[in-house]
Amino acid sequence: MAARPKRYAMVVDSKKCINCKACVVACRAENSVPLAYSRPWMNEETRGVWPKLMAAFAPEQCHQCDHPACVRVCPTGASHHRPDGIVVVNEAECVGCRYCMIACPYDARFFREDKGVVEKCDFCVHRLERGQLPACVETCPSKVRVFGDLNDPKSKLAELLSDRQYRVKKPEAGTGPQIYYLI
């Protein structure tokens, strides 16, 4: 494929995450997501035995994969991959078969019973269009989330990825996830 003009991605500096859930609420408001669902979610883990303890927190959401399994299985093309790398669901085309949910290795999607369609994080495309950052990125008190264009070597994102070590989740799923977790 020809070089894309844009490749939106997110870097997560988990060490800075304080599990405050601002991102979760911001997304709910921004995208009018009803209470029963959430586009982003928090991974929380506390390990150890008193008093030798450690805790780790990290946000997660749709990984906007390069080879999205959800898009592959979608029978109607409602789920599709934009040229800028964002995977979106076109609500109008979605029949609500939930095949994409089953195919997503990250369980990043949910079924809106009220609308009969599937929904997930879309990097707040409508905000990007206005020149705003995704809601969860903008609101984060400790700026755990860094959003940007992978193809732009000058972006903070590219800089972090070249300076720091990182990993992606479930690389073996082969979907090419685009949320990078700094180590």
């Binding site: 405050c20 601002a22 709910r28 209470l35 040229p83 903008e138 959003f147 903070k156």
Partner: protein, 724 residues
């Protein structure tokens, strides 16, 4: 999502590229509000907690769609926490107060009759006047917590002639404020961003947000490689990010501090020049701390002596970029004041004063004042007898718990009417049964709130205030190392039949014959305030930006001049305090070992989570989802020995109450402590999500206060836990 836009966006490579080009990299994610039909962006100020972060409210077709952070404010930076984001619910929640209410039936039975504002004002004014006739104006009590319009409410109380105003500091930070004031003549801020060594005693900054400290701490601890030493009986989020976390034995922080002083003084590690130029009483301090060896402190605190020594050395090496952080809520123990004094002294002798990375006196911005007629000072003394009980404390704020004792006892005189503004004493005060007693002995209780709080539940009249997104407030200066001016402007018109505090005050004042003191509009008030700002059109500026950041801050070193007079008795930093001595308190911090829970009992401690504010946001559905019910943190080993499993229901009993809730058996707390979240087990049935759900800590906490400041001591209660 806007369908048209979506199509435009997804129309393939070409369109994607075009939009890409218009976005041009990430930096330009600095967005300029463009005109979109039906869409407005209104800068304003958050009031979901004490921090007053700057917000940009996005209004779409007359409804607030989203609250975004306003990056122009250097205190809140570009952040809005979970509560700030959930502020929308205050406006649109069906559970909010929508019109004035007058109680029918008994207090707490929950029967209300909607009333017109005229009726509500008439009724309250009549009751207040009756009380005044019978008991004098001192028979009324006016209590409030911090807010931009609190001033109007307080002024009404003062104009009415009551000496009895009581505010939240004696539930919160009175001891720390008094300790720093008596030492430095002011309460400084802490330059966490530039610090290299930070010690915190249970200041849970990464869950209890203070701007900009919370963000600074994360930045300095994770990026700038500052060292964070954290002391807390619980494994909090802050503990998890600290370089070293010590689960200190509760109530013994002073022993740790004294041992640090012992090492630093004993090893000549203090800043000699600074001590000589700016402080008094160092020789007395030297003698005083000799007795407090690290080995002794190890026994008290359970922190290894070698660590105390090492930390003391590292701390003094890092000074002046080293701080023992003051903390905010210091409503902990009876001896709290002395613990905070010891911190202040420690910070002073290593010279971390008014320097980058140390403590910095707050910058100041002058605001203008709207001039109104003066009223006479109240004649009667305060009912909490501050002069006698807490001679050094801030009189205007009162001492809540002593006040409650006196009101219930009717000494020195009866207090029979209680006006409450933006405060929920039923939850905020320990010993809920006593608060209820105090409420019940009132002839009249009026509450100004935005939701049916537990206190409102027992009131006679409830005045619904417009929420912070529906009103314009006075301008405020947020002090700090870099002080700013913030403005709260109306984002949407009130959705229901509600009024602002000013309007409520005016409504009452009119009926109490006090109108002459409140004869102005909010606009006039604000205009007078902003007149002094060095801006051409200050109001327009604030309306557009929501915040004004004066140039020239941070300023370091303004007081670093041996001739500088500190606002203390000696004009110096008082390591040894004559004023304490004169008032019969320990002039240097003396350690009194706290009582420890007898076997089978636990000390109950309290604190916050990042997504709740005090007791008052647990009914917000967007936040409640993170903890629909509170549970009792119980150490796994302790639970084992009691035969209690995770999720079991238990009954906790103290000398003043008993509550039942589920357990959270965990490794994350000391075996001698238990912990629960605040704001559950509500009495107010209108707080549907938390009414009768979980347990209410205020029912359990015994009444105790710090001896010097009168601050509540919320960690002095021992409870037994039994499976039910």
């Amino acid at each position: 999502m806007d369908r048209r836009k979506f199509l435009r966006f997804s129309a393939g490579g070409a369109a994607g590229a075009a939009i890409g080009a218009s976005l041009a990299y990430m930096k330009p994610f600095s967005h300029s509000p463009e005109k979109e039909a039906g869409r407005l962006e209104v800068p304003t100020t958050c009031e979901a907690c004490v921090n007053k972060c700057s917000v940009i409210a996005v209004v779409e077709n007359g409804t607030i769609h989203k609250l975004n952070p306003n990056p122009e404010n250097p205190k809140s930076r570009g952040m809005l926490c979970a509560r700030g984001n959930a502020g929308l619910q205050q406006v649109y929640s069906p559970a909010r107060l929508k019109r004035p209410l007058i109680r029918v039936g008994g207090r707490g039975e929950g029967n209300w009759r909607p009333a017109s504002w005229d009726e509500a004002f008439d009724f309250a004014a009549k009751k207040l006047s009756e009380t005044k006739d019978k008991y004098g104006p001192q028979g009324t009590l006016w209590s409030s917590s911090e807010s931009f319009q609190e001033v109007f409410f307080r002024n009404l109380g003062a104009a009415f002639g009551s000496p009895n105003q009581v505010r939240h500091p004696t539930l919160c930070l009175a001891s720390v404020n008094l300790a720093y004031s008596l030492t430095f003549g002011t309460v400084p801020s802490f330059d966490l961003l530039n610090s290299k060594y930070i010690i915190m005693s249970g200041a849970n900054r990464l869950e209890s947000f203070i701007t900009p400290d919370t963000m600074d701490l994360i930045e300095s601890a994770e990026y700038r490689k500052a060292k964070l030493i954290y002391l807390d009986p619980r494994f909090t989020v802050t503990a998890s990010k600290a370089d070293e976390w010590y689960p200190i034995r509760p109530g013994t922080d002073l022993a740790f501090l004294l041992a640090m002083l012992n090492v630093i003084v004993g090893e000549n590690r203090y800043d000699k020049e600074f001590v000589a130029n700016y402080t008094v009483g160092f020789d007395k301090l030297t003698e005083h701390v000799k007795a407090f060896s690290p080995d002794w402190a190890e026994k008290e605190t359970e922190i290894p002596a070698k660590d105390i020594v090492r930390i003391a050395r590292e701390f003094s090496d890092a000074a002046p970029r080293a701080v023992y952080y003051a903390g905010r809520r210091s409503s902990w123990y009876r001896e709290d004041f002395h613990t905070r004094r010891a911190q202040a002294i420690l910070n002073a002798i290593v010279g971390s004063w008014d320097r980058e990375g140390g403590m910095v006196p707050n910058g100041k911005i002058a605001l203008g004042e709207y001039l109104f007629l003066p009223w006479d000072d109240p004649i009667a003394p305060r009912v909490d007898e501050m002069d006698k009980n807490f001679p050094l404390a801030a009189k205007g704020d009162g001492a809540y718990l002593k006040l409650r004792e006196n009101v219930i006892a009717g000494t020195p005189y009866p207090v029979k009417a209680w006006m409450i503004h933006k405060q929920d004493p039923m939850n905020a005060l320990p010993g809920q049964a006593r608060t209820l007693e105090m409420l019940q002995q009132m002839d009249f209780v009026g509450v100004v709130d935005v939701q049916m709080s537990d206190t409102a539940w027992y009131a006679d009249v409830v005045f619904p205030e417009s929420t912070y997104l529906e009103r314009t407030d006075p301008v405020e200066v947020l002090s700090g190392i870099a002080p700013v001016v913030v403005y709260r402007q109306q984002v949407v018109k009130p959705v229901h039949d509600t009024k602002t505090t000013l309007e409520i005050t005016q409504g009452l004042a009119k009926r109490l014959g006090l109108s002459q003191y409140f004869d102005f509009t909010m606009d006039q008030w604000v205009a007078a305030q902003v007149k002094e700002l060095p801006l051409e059109a200050p109001l327009e500026y604030l309306k557009k930006h929501g915040v004004y950041v004066p140039p020239g801050f941070p300023k370091y070193g303004t007081t670093l001049n041996p001739d500088h007079r500190f606002i203390t008795k000696s004009g110096k930093i008082e390591l040894y305090s004559d004023r304490l001595q004169e008032a019969n308190y320990d002039p240097l911090p003396v350690y009194h070992a706290p009582a420890q829970p007898p076997p089978g009992k636990f000390r109950i401690i309290t604190g916050r989570r990042a997504y709740f504010t005090q007791a008052n946001t647990t009914n917000n559905p967007w936040l409640n989802q993170f903890a629909p019910e509170n549970s009792l943190w119980l150490n796994a080993a302790a639970a084992d020995s009691l035969g209690i499993a995770d999720g079991d229901r238990v009954e906790m009993t103290s000398t003043v109450g008993a509550v039942r809730l589920k357990t959270r058996v965990t490794q994350e707390i000391r075996p001698d402590c238990v912990f629960m979240l605040h704001g559950y087990g509500k009495k107010s049935k209108w707080q549907r999500l938390v009414a009768g759900t979980g347990g209410c800590d205020s029912e359990l906490l015994e009444t105790a206060w710090d001896k010097v400041s009168g601050n509540a001591a919320l960690h002095e209660t021992f409870v037994s836990v039994r499976k039910v």
